[in-house]
Symmetry: C2
Amino acid sequence: MKTTPTILLLGAGRSATYFIDYLAKVVQKNGWRFIIAENNASIVYQKAMQYPHLEVVQLNTSDTEQTFAWIKQTDVVVSLLPPSLHSSIAHMCLEAQRHLLTASYLPAEIQHLDSKVQEKGLLFLYEMGLDPGIDHLSAMQMIDKIKKQSGEILSFASFCGGLIAPEYIAGNPWGYKFTWNPQNVVLAGQGGIAQYKEQNKVRYVPYQQLFKRIQPIYFENLGEYEAYYNRNSLLYTKAYGLQNCSTIIRGTIRMKGFCEAWHALIQIGLTDHTLLIENVNQLTYRQFLESFFPPSTLPWQERLAKYLDLPLNHPTIQKILWLGLHEDEPIPLTQGTPAQILQTRLEQKWQLQPQDKDLILMQHQITYKQENKQHQVIAELMLKGENQVFTAMAKTVGLPLALAAELLLENKIQTRGVKIPCFAEIYENILPLLAKHGIEFQEKSLTKQRLSEID
Amino acid sequence: MKTTPTILLLGAGRSATYFIDYLAKVVQKNGWRFIIAENNASIVYQKAMQYPHLEVVQLNTSDTEQTFAWIKQTDVVVSLLPPSLHSSIAHMCLEAQRHLLTASYLPAEIQHLDSKVQEKGLLFLYEMGLDPGIDHLSAMQMIDKIKKQSGEILSFASFCGGLIAPEYIAGNPWGYKFTWNPQNVVLAGQGGIAQYKEQNKVRYVPYQQLFKRIQPIYFENLGEYEAYYNRNSLLYTKAYGLQNCSTIIRGTIRMKGFCEAWHALIQIGLTDHTLLIENVNQLTYRQFLESFFPPSTLPWQERLAKYLDLPLNHPTIQKILWLGLHEDEPIPLTQGTPAQILQTRLEQKWQLQPQDKDLILMQHQITYKQENKQHQVIAELMLKGENQVFTAMAKTVGLPLALAAELLLENKIQTRGVKIPCFAEIYENILPLLAKHGIEFQEKSLTKQRLSEID
């Protein structure tokens, strides 16, 4: 007896809007089932209200018995839960023999399940969002194309950022608002020393240099942005087939000036996540800030300038003052680390407004040798969101997952095992579909002549 | 039947020389037993050769059965083992009902054993070395004396450093050599954000500021040194009875200019202890250093100056070049973190030579109000070592422990429970004995008039 093809979504937070929206239509058309399981089910009722055929269930995944029962009822499990919860979900999917799709980074312990997952005819597809996700799909397509034409890749650099469209940042000197998990933004770079490769040598960038040792990046019609090194760029050397490539860089894009000011917050100590401070609700932001400085009676603008060794009107000073950390407002936390306290303030100041449009930027820069000539190809993605809910971030994270789930149920993806989307079958199928939804790269190629001109 | 009073020393490394030397004579005079248990027993045979009545045994403390058997034979256990091994030793001492003395920091989990230790009539005395140790003894004596005279303590600052006598640092621009565990020096400050109190406010100093936000400290006849904040200065607020004191600072002393150069090593990333690098023996120090910099063909002096934003001939640049991290010598490690690799080089460059004399400096600064006048009292300890083996470090760490063991066996210390040496009985007994061995503080007092003159 053939049962109805069923998709189970675990977790329906910020980045689930497009995923739900797209699959709701697909399952209706195909007569499939779509179950959305979320601990805070009320947020889903809103998102799913116009789709009465969706099944919304309240589920706390720490209730493993109930979670397993739901997984058992489905064909494809998609998890948008926090990465820390994925390990138990993956093991349940293996036992229940269900496919698993997620946008989270692939941990080594799951990679080790590869042969077991293959044996059972399953696909565990990790890193299937934006970054990681669309970056893999698009980069691999470029790399494979160059190799097929006997090109030898000399350098590979890939940048991505979840930003705000320039016309919506007026009055916000940071040029940044939260479009995904704020904690990840505040703790960026604390997972370990960043690594990349340049001139055939592995290079390390410690946290205290990360937002200082930045590089400019240009987008046509938008202008100059900047990028900091993103984690360990070398993790994908083998997956991308870049073992002979002398430069490998992955970076995160921010508006010009952001990194220098964030570097100042790090220098002050405000991003520390090791010290738990108690009774924080008895402090104001000013008292919190004060504790990172030697005593002084100077106004805060002067104190900051002096401590950071910057001119009084430096844009970094203006950015920090704009956050109002020197104001006597109570901190809405009972206890927290400096990073968590900073985050409460940033969430007030960097909140996406209802009509704000976010902006996803991605750029791959590849130089390669072909027939004794050096070439460069640059591929760019620029995508604006629609508003506070239908963000470009939610679209670029949710749509690759939704499309992969659809293709799996249609048997259009045959690859099995524990994977990240670095194989031809996935980018050949997904990229054209993403393009139909406006997620499309523009490529420009330069020959060596042209290169030397712009150097 | 009364058995022979017996002392067991666990671990006989660098700081055990004075301890063994002193107690060897005491036990001979008193007809006691003294057992030295060490995993690497050969290092003890050298130290104990002239004392045939000492019992030296080979013991690996991971062999808990044998360790327990040795503990059971003794009255007082003194541990100079690494702190990580102390937890199991403490529990064995509790079960065997034996006193325990150590120079290590008192962990919270041992503090919790206090009532059990008291019930059994035992003393577990932690932090009984130099710093922590002699700092507690001497500070508590000063604090109690001021309080007895109805003085109200306004500020308390205490500094200590294990240095090298000025006449033995010629040619070493860092003015520093290792006289204790090199790893502790390399990782200093990485245990968590430093904390102190000033103007009645808790102040935090993150690692990236620790060696920058330093303060000068003067010693008569020696001149100016500098100090960085030492861990959490507020841990001793209650033990010292300083709850109403508006300023509490503990600092570590270094030669002038050391901290700025160490700060540069931190900025570069060379003290990182999170990244394990494999096959390090295939690298030279230059290749290791290179990996922390962007590519460049400039000479290293210029690269360092540019990267650190310092003049070409800045003393910090000279200090780093003197370490020879830019030289093409192989690294004597198969794998290691940047901190461990740096340590191998420092151990070559900062090695104590046979005739070198080390220098212990300690200074307490207390201001207090008495009869409506403000007073300041400064107490200083300056102690030079004799040579590479009989260092002032070994003396100031070992002698307080040896004296405490002696006094315990003579029933001259009645205090029981889990303690650090912040109680009158211990400093009243120990400080005069330390003075007899040349470990003596000089005090000078200033009244407010005098204070305002030197301000």
